[in-house]
Symmetry: C2
Subunit: 164 residues, 2 copies
DNA sequence: AATGTAGGTTCTGTTTGGGAACTTAGTCAA
DNA sequence: TTGACTAAGTTCCCAAACAGAACCTACATT
């Protein structure tokens, strides 16, 4: 079964993972948010093979997450910039940063700190409820079927014993 | 070069991606947050091969993200539960859900809606600044070197022309 | 003329993933 | 008391993806 055919595809996490769900892609995007834009810079910064980098960038452009913009004509040169769709991935990158800082830091502390320009404070952005403003805890959230749900994907235990 | 040896490893995103940065792992975790706990249930829900699932669960247990708990002695049976470290991944899963809903929904709307129990509203959780409460925009954040930064990993353009 | 730079492509093994069958240990129903 | 079923894996073989390195093209610099 190909990954793109899994039942999970009616799940938004699966659709997101189908685009950015590999190790290199997420690192390319992290660097894009740090204003890296050129092939050589991605390559030397990440240590990814040129072949894979070319493929990943192509895929991200096809998906509308990066755009390939000419910055020089002779010889032709291009850079890769985040689109609006690409910039919308920021919360994912920030959430991964925060988790890595909190749980995988090896005791050295965060390699990068984030400063919120509007208030000037160094912060760890957190998820909150846009209605009541409270910080989100997993236990406080319940999942409801939405308009895009396909029945085959309903999640939960199948009845046990007595015919499927 | 092995992925674990890349310069990116001093980056928290890279450390996070080294653990959850593949398509199946993130889907396993998404299902874990939807209260799926057993081998058979992960397998049939995701369509992942049993072989890969066994490997991914083992890895997640080793990393302290899931724990393997016996729920029956004869025959021995186990289930996989999120640890504290695992539950801390929730913002990543939610951020991926939100992005998939917004940008990859194929016009059908979200398959799952989230309700915030404390206020009762159906919401899309958003990243906000814990100091001033404003919603986070990428343009509003600037990255500063932190205590865990290694010099070799500094991000940005190398000087061009005239000796590296 | 030689060297450097940017952005790739090609080649060759190795690693990982997919699909399906098999195993183990116990339970249930006829 | 045989036969089917369940849960949680493991084993096998083949296909796809990846790593490492060299190569290519077009222009610019010294």
């Amino acid at each position: 079964m190909k990954w793109s055919e899994t039942g999970g595809m009616s799940c938004s996490v699966a659709r997101t993972a189908s685009v950015i769900g590999d190790r290199w892609t997420i690192l390319i995007l992290r660097n894009a948010f740090l204003r890296i834009r050129r092939f050589e810079d991605f390559q030397s910064n990440l240590g990814i093979t040129r072949h894979l980098l070319a493929g990943r960038l192509k895929r991200l452009v096809e998906e509308g997450i990066l755009e390939r913009v000419s910055y020089q004509d002779a010889p032709p040169r291009f850079e890769y910039r985040l689109t609006l769709k690409g910039r919308a991935l920021y919360p994912i990158v920030v959430a991964m940063t925060a988790w890595g800082d909190a749980w995988m830091d090896g005791g050295k502390g965060a390699p990068l700190l984030l400063q919120h320009k509007s208030c000037g404070k160094v912060v760890t952005p957190q998820l909150s409820c846009p209605e009541c403003g409270e910080a989100i805890e997993p236990q406080q959230m319940s999942a409801l079927p939405g308009p895009g749900l396909m029945l085959a994907d309903a999640v939960g235990r199948k009845p046990r014993r007595k015919k499927a």
